[in-house]
């Protein structure tokens, strides 16, 4: 609750130190039958950094997300979150250890209220067993109350109007649905937040708001953020480090300036001609 009152002025981003990494993936390979979706990808996310993962369509970005969240198990390689290997763990376990995510095509619980969506996100941080819930013992009621409060704070934090908390998630405007998905992911108190194209389908005004929101969340909540994004304005504007995937391989890594000048990246995006000219 204290971090809500944090300053509104964004503190300068800390230097991306690779020694203090929140997530370390080594030689991660994912095969679907004969198709190699990811080949020996090494990946480090420094603590409190915003890292972007970019690449043409089909480069393996979303597959990488699914590996990190346990929805897929890598064919080989290791993924370590804060010193704990997470390969082979069930998705809900990984949420508990501190990874939250959103989806490329928004996937809210449509016929639940906005508030309930966020409260579901808090599930792993709640303790009420089914017996305790059944008996409605005081601790359970207290926990429900705290969860409701926390959910409301999160709605405030992502900029969702409180008046909408009783509304069905499906009835929210598109931009607000994106925000709600982020609030739901944040409810599990993640150390690492994975955002899969958070500005897809947004107009420039909304995109700018979302970009600012991502920076603000990192500062307020001590998050590390991994972002898949196609909008280069967002990527260059918000991230400290960028990793580029192409055909399942990491072809570049570095600061925004370095990536923008990297000939392999330009080639992957625009074809060989572009580099030549």
């Amino acid at each position: 609750m204290t971090h809500v009152q944090a300053t509104t002025t964004a503190s300068p981003a800390p230097p991306a130190s690779v020694e203090d990494a929140v997530l370390r993936a080594e030689k991660v390979t994912m095969r679907f039958g004969g198709l190699v979706a990811l080949r020996e990808v090494d990946f480090v996310i420094p603590r409190r950094a915003i890292v972007s993962l970019i690449g043409p369509n089909g480069a393996g970005k979303t597959t990488f997300f699914n590996l990190l969240t346990g929805m897929l198990t890598p064919t080989s390689g290791s993924i370590v979150l804060d010193g704990r290997p997470i390969v082979g763990l069930a998705p809900h376990k990984i949420v508990e250890l501190g990874i939250g995510r959103t989806f490329q095509n928004i996937r809210l619980f449509n016929e639940m209220t906005v508030l309930a969506n966020v409260m579901v996100g808090r599930h792993v941080r709640m303790n009420a067993s089914w017996i305790a819930s059944l008996l409605r013992i005081p601790q359970v009621r207290r926990e429900e109350q705290l969860t409701t409060e926390r959910a409301r704070e999160l709605l405030d934090m992502v900029g969702l109007d409180r008046a909408y908390e009783g509304e069905w998630a499906r009835n929210l405007p598109y931009g607000d649905q994106r925000r709600l998905e982020i609030a739901r992911a944040l409810a599990s108190d993640p150390k690492l937040l994975l955002l899969d194209e958070p500005t897809a389908g947004m107009n420039p005004g909304e995109t700018a708001q979302m970009t600012r929101l991502i920076g603000r969340l990192r500062d307020k909540l001590d998050l590390s953020v991994l972002l898949i994004e196609h909008d280069m304005k967002v990527v260059m504007g918000v991230s400290e480090r960028i990793t580029v995937l192409d055909y399942g391989e990491k072809i570049a890594e570095g600061t925004p300036e370095g990536i923008r000048a990297n000939p392999r990246v330009i080639e992957a995006y625009l074809g060989k001609q572009a580099t030549a000219s």
């Binding site: 969240t69 929805m71 069930a90 998705p91 809900h92 949420v95 508990e96 995510r101 989806f103 996937r107 809210l108 619980f109 449509n110 016929e111 639940m112 309930a116 409260m119 579901v120 996100g121 599930h123 792993v124 709640m126 009420a128 089914w130 819930s133 059944l134 008996l135 409605r136 359970v140 926990e143 429900e144 969860t147 509304e167 069905w168 499906r170 009835n171 405007p173 931009g175 607000d176 739901r184 992911a185 599990s188 107009n203 420039p204 005004g205 909304e206 995109t207 700018a208 708001q209 970009t211 600012r212 280069m232 304005k233 967002v234 260059m236 504007g237």
Partner: protein
Amino acid sequence: MRPFVRRALLTGLVASIPLIHLSLVGLVVKLDERDLVSGLLTIGATIPIIISLAAGYRAATPMRIGEMVPPSRSTALVSGALTGLVGGMVVALFVWIVDAFPVREVLISASPKLVDVMRWGFDTTTGSMMLVAGATTIGLLGATLALLPPNLRRGALTGLVAVMGLALMQTFVVQILTGLPLESLSDFLYARDGMTEPGAAVTLVGLGAAGWAWAARGAQLRGGFAGLRPGQRRTARFSGLGVALMILITLPLFVGSFLANALDTVGLYILLGLGLNIVVGFAGLLDLGYVAFYAVGAYATAVLTSPVSPALTPQLDFWVAVPVVMMVAAFIGLTIGAPVLRLRGDYLAIVTLGFGEIARIIFLSDWMTPYLGGAQGILQVPAPQFFGIDLRQPERLYYPILAACIIAAVVAFSLASSRVGRAWTAMREDETVAEATGINTTKYKLLAFSLGATFGGLAGALYAVRIGSVFPQELNLLVSINALALIILGGIGSIPGVIVGAIVLVGLPELLREFSEYRLLIYGIVLVAMMLLRPEGLVPNRSRRAELHEGDQGDTQVWDEERWDRETGVETPAPIIT
């Protein structure tokens, strides 16, 4: 005008079909034996009236010609009358055919009695003209009904339905009133056969006015309730529950044995419905083999308590046996649940359907005969004793059933609004995302399955002591289907819905035993009407309603264009580094 006329003609033709059908299956004549208003009007004669009224009403409603266009007042009235006229002529023709030709050799219900009923006892010419004129008038009335202000219409319909209901349920209402004791009220309302004229009139006007008042002021009343402080609201809610509980507890004292028996049946299905609702309504797992748990509960009770159980005869007391039975059912729920966890939707439904059948076949099998008696079943399941009182009688068995229903409802209600209920709802909405949001879907599926099984088992135990014996033949697919149908009828995922669903789907057929040949026909009509008019169920929970009435005006706000513009347009894009 033209489209309205066309629709009126068509509606008249179409409306004559169900009437002819109901005549030919004999329902009209059958219901003609009962008086609605003593000596004045039979229930059979009301069937053509109801159909004409509905057709006239339909012909006067707004129509989609590009957009929804309401008819002008005169067009509406003409349409209604025209509908009645056309329908009446078709039916008159039908009656003439029945009268003039030996149709009865093929269609046995096309009897002279039918002709008599339809022509209100008059001869061919007068009767046919009366029929057509009557249908036209009633069609006109139907159109008038459509033109009434909605609240008034609600009142009129409430009054009509109340008179119909009271007349149909005469035997039971008389019995209840006599038991209460309100014999004078009973004498006022009812003659020996049918309602008295003043009784019917008072009911029509009184309950009609009540219906109108509720339609006009109900929202205000509900608003007033919502405006109370939370403490007051809780008090109001608790006193409401208290009154309901008092009524439920005293009910068997004056309803008589037959009605108490019907109440027991309804109670057992409420219990089944509440259990299945946890699995299907809350967790979204379509289980078509729910009867398996009912059967396990019944058999476990029989084995544990009956002195003539084939192999084991521990002869436990019922109250000792019940917890064991529930645990056995929960365990079976887990063992059936575990292997089918990976299946979703239709596949889960098919596999559970299979499990239900497997259970029945196992109970019937030679392999299990030495332990469970095979087709002979297990007899002499003793009735539970409560401090020396034998609870076999329906009026007494009512209490353990009531208690079980209350427990199940409280469990379902508490869990629904807790962390567990949210996890279930999330799982029902999107299983993959629920898992990615941190919900251990395996655990919550198993919890739903075993809780559902526990209540199914409890219902089975009560069923066994009620019947006093257990046979595999009676524990068939129909039980699963009925339990599922009552959940859907009431509104999936809704606890009051289960109760209403059980009363309508199980209770009404019990009370309308005299029309049992037409039971499935009525059942079918009700289900089709439900799916057309209220697909979300009779007492839906909020989310289902939102889902199925998307785009209707109502309590859900679907899209707010203004807000969208306001939020996205006003903000100028901040400068971003590029």
